[in-house]
Assembly symmetry: C2
Amino acid sequence: MSETCKSCGHSLCARRVPIFSHLDGEQLETVVSLIRRKHFDKRETLFFEGGVLQGLMIINRGKAKAYRHTADGKEQILHLFFPGDFFGEKSLFVDKKTEYNVAAIEPVDLCMISRKDFQRLMKDYPHINQKIMEELVSRIDHLESMIENLGAKSVDARIQSLLLELGQKALKQEKLEDGMEFVLPLSREGLANYIGVTRETVSRKLSALQEEGIIEMTGNKKIRVLDVDRLERT
Amino acid sequence: MSETCKSCGHSLCARRVPIFSHLDGEQLETVVSLIRRKHFDKRETLFFEGGVLQGLMIINRGKAKAYRHTADGKEQILHLFFPGDFFGEKSLFVDKKTEYNVAAIEPVDLCMISRKDFQRLMKDYPHINQKIMEELVSRIDHLESMIENLGAKSVDARIQSLLLELGQKALKQEKLEDGMEFVLPLSREGLANYIGVTRETVSRKLSALQEEGIIEMTGNKKIRVLDVDRLERT
DNA sequence: CGCGGTCTTGATGGTTATCAAGAAACGTGG
DNA sequence: CCACGTTTCTTGATAACCATCAAGACCGCG
């Protein structure tokens, strides 16, 4: 966990984040000057449940999961954060505890902007406010879809939604050649904790999809979706 | 579905809504002048999935549910709206379809403020902006809790959370005497569609809780929680 | 008071969690 | 680069739990 991230260029950090994408060069410089960076190894915890985040945290590189533990020890993943995603937005508006843990599922470079600095940014560049709102709204959309999946869909359908979601996210990150192929960001257990089943069930369902010729797995993490239509026909 | 709601006083409508609670009398008058009212009978649909809401919709009286139907016809309830709650906030920030239906589960008086008018309000009274943000954040919190319930908790635990949630909401609405007693806002089927089980299961679990002496049911809708601690020990 | 809708309860079956063991993948150090 | 040890993954057997199907009871409303 080094204090600074040497590998990421300054401007890159802010430029690839959607909420700053409309700023011009000079404005971006201002933003960049406010950013502190921090590196986390895989499996390191970025933040613990119950703590108060002191600002906006932006994933610059790597991926992270936000999750909770139930009373009986089960893990439920609430969000997957990819490069460009942020968390800690709650602390910008209300003085409340964060109710989930965030852990790196890949080595992560984190960009941090303090609450105070970010509030000034929002005042100086009001459009950022709008961007944050949009992000909150789309996060609500996503959470609502998760609820529909968990509450009303069969396990088969949940696995299919999961593969489509991860495939699309991967597609957005690195431009892919045709025939959706991507690397799973989570272990079987991670996938299971995202869709509310056990790792054994994930294993069995993926094997079944492979036998039906809908997907093809190479190694444990690489997946190629052969029949996207079949997945979408949920 | 009459065009105006005669029974609700003008100022009441805006005053009881948290997002306007900080405004003074004159400002409230302005808000009130922008409001259009509409009444819906029980079971009427306030809005259909796929439509674009044209402004902010505030429940002034009654209760409503927001829900989706899965491909195979199952209903999943996403939100319960009580008096003072609002929906349609998405339309204020982005031009996107609403992805759920909203239906009255009691006769509802609805206050509507058009997108354009509300955006002017936000400009004139910037604090409203902050209030909306706070509401979005707390809605995210609630959705995350639902996900934890649906994905990682046993059905018993989900029923218990449900009763606590409904009890607390009822407590907030009408001040209750001690010994949490309240009227269920939903049928067994409604409860079931909220926590992702079948109505038969809800029936059985409630009966079990009664036999254990944790709750007491009178009629189909009235519930008294005798042992709140046992419910909280999830 | 009687009817329609809602609710409860029982019997059964399907689906997934759990327990268990072996196989594959991965990382490490020689 | 290979061998080893560890972690992760797969697969099977079993059991628990809930959905489903079905019938009768209760409730609430006209």
